[in-house]
C-alpha cells in the first residue's frame, strides 16, 4: 500500500512537471516585445552622462549604493518573494518531520566558559545581524545573511541553556513579516501600477534613508528569515 501511494505521488509530481514544461516557449522563439525584459534590453546606457557621486546624487532611478541589493530587491523583487517562499516551505517541511511538544536537552550542564561567553557575545551577534539587514542597501549583506546571523544567536542560546525554548511568538513574527512583504508589493500596485514597484522617493544615494522601499523590504525579509531559521533550530531540538 505504501509503495503504491509513493508511486502515485511520484507520478503526480512527474505530471505537474510535464504540465509546467508545456508553456515554456522553444529556444529563440520568444517575442521579447511582450516581455518585461524588453524595457531593460532596449534601455540605453550611453544616454545618461551625468556622473553619480556618493552622498550627492539625488533622485536616481534606484538610489541604492549597493548594486547587488538594487538588483535583488528592486529589479528582481518578485524573484526574492519566490526565494522567501522556498525558505518557508523548507522550514515547514522540517517542522512537519521533527515536531514535538517539549525541548530535548543535551543531558549535561553546559560548561562555565560557554555560559559566560554567550552573555557577552550574544548582544553583539544580534546587533551585527540587525546592522547587516538594516544597512543592506548601503553595504554588502542584506536580509538573508542578517536573518541567518540572528538565528545563530538563537542557536547559541539553545546550546548554552538547557531550559531555553523559543517562544511561539516567532511564528507570529514570521507570518506578519511575510504578509508585510506582500502588502508592500500590493501598495506598489496602488501607487505606481506594478507589483513591488518602488513608490517612495529614492533620496540621496548613500544615506540610511534612501532607495525607497528597498531598506523596508530588507528589514521585513531579515525578520522573516531570522524567525524561520530560528524555528528550524527550535524544531530540531524538540521531542515527544
Amino acid at each position: 500500500m505504501r509503495k503504491f501511494l509513493s508511486m502515485l505521488l511520484a507520478l503526480g509530481v512527474v505530471f505537474v512537471l510535464i504540465e509546467m514544461i508545456e508553456p515554456i516557449p522553444a529556444y529563440g522563439k520568444v517575442d521579447l516585445s511582450k516581455r518585461v525584459s524588453e524595457k531593460y534590453v532596449s534601455k540605453s546606457v550611453s544616454g545618461f552622462r551625468e556622473e553619480v557621486a556618493y552622498k550627492k546624487s539625488k533622485n536616481l532611478e534606484e538610489g541604492s549604493a549597493n548594486v547587488v541589493t538594487s538588483i535583488v530587491v528592486n529589479y528582481r523583487g518578485f524573484d526574492t518573494l519566490g526565494e522567501v517562499t522556498v525558505l518557508f516551505i523548507s522550514a515547514f517541511g522540517v517542522g512537519l518531520i521533527s515536531s514535538g511538544l517539549k525541548r530535548k536537552g543535551y543531558g549535561r550542564k553546559p560548561n562555565f566558559i560557554l555560559r559566560t561567553a554567550v552573555g557577552v557575545v550574544l548582544p553583539l551577534i544580534i546587533l551585527f545581524g540587525v546592522y547587516i539587514f538594516v544597512h543592506g542597501h548601503l553595504t554588502p549583506g542584506g536580509g538573508f545573511p542578517g536573518g541567518t546571523i540572528l538565528s545563530i544567536g538563537i542557536l547559541l542560546l539553545y546550546l548554552s541553556n538547557e531550559e531555553y525554548e523559543l517562544s511561539e511568538k516567532s511564528k507570529v513574527l514570521e507570518g506578519t513579516s511575510g504578509s508585510l512583504f506582500v502588502i508592500i508589493g500590493l501598495l506598489g500596485i496602488a501607487f505606481s501600477g506594478a507589483f513591488l514597484a518602488n513608490f517612495l522617493p529614492t533620496g540621496v544615494i548613500g544615506n540610511l534613508f534612501s532607495a525607497g522601499i528597498v531598506p523596508i523590504i530588507y528589514i521585513v525579509i531579515g525578520f522573516k528569515v531570522g524567525a524561520e531559521l530560528s524555528t528550524i533550530v527550535a524544531d530540531l531540538h524538540k521531542e515527544g
Binding site: 521533527s98 554588502p140 542584506g142 538573508f144 545573511p145 531559521l229 530540531l236
Partner: protein
C-alpha cells in the same frame, strides 16, 4: 596572490573529496564546513562580498549546526 588562490582551491577539492570518502558522517559535515569557510576567501578575492557574507553565515555556520542537530535527532550514524 595567485599561489594563495591555487592553494585555497586545492584545499577546497581536498575537503570535498574527504567529505565524500570519509566513513563517519560527522567528519563529513566538518569537511563541508571547511569547504564553505575556505570558499568565502575565494568569493572575497573575486570581489563578491555579498555572496561571501551569505556563504560565511549560512554555508559555514548554520548548515553545519543544522546537519549536526539532525544527526543527533536520528541518533548518531551507527548502523
Amino acid at each position: 596572490m595567485m599561489v594563495v588562490t591555487i592553494l585555497v582551491g586545492a584545499l577546497m577539492i581536498t575537503a570535498g573529496i574527504f567529505a565524500i570518502e570519509t566513513k563517519r558522517l560527522l567528519d563529513s559535515f566538518i569537511a563541508l564546513s571547511v569547504l564553505s569557510l575556505v570558499s568565502v576567501f575565494l568569493f572575497i578575492m573575486m570581489k563578491a562580498p555579498d555572496v561571501a557574507i551569505t556563504e560565511a553565515a549560512i554555508g559555514a555556520g548554520l548548515t553545519t549546526a543544522v546537519l549536526i542537530l539532525a544527526l543527533r535527532k536520528i541518533g548518531g550514524d551507527e548502523e
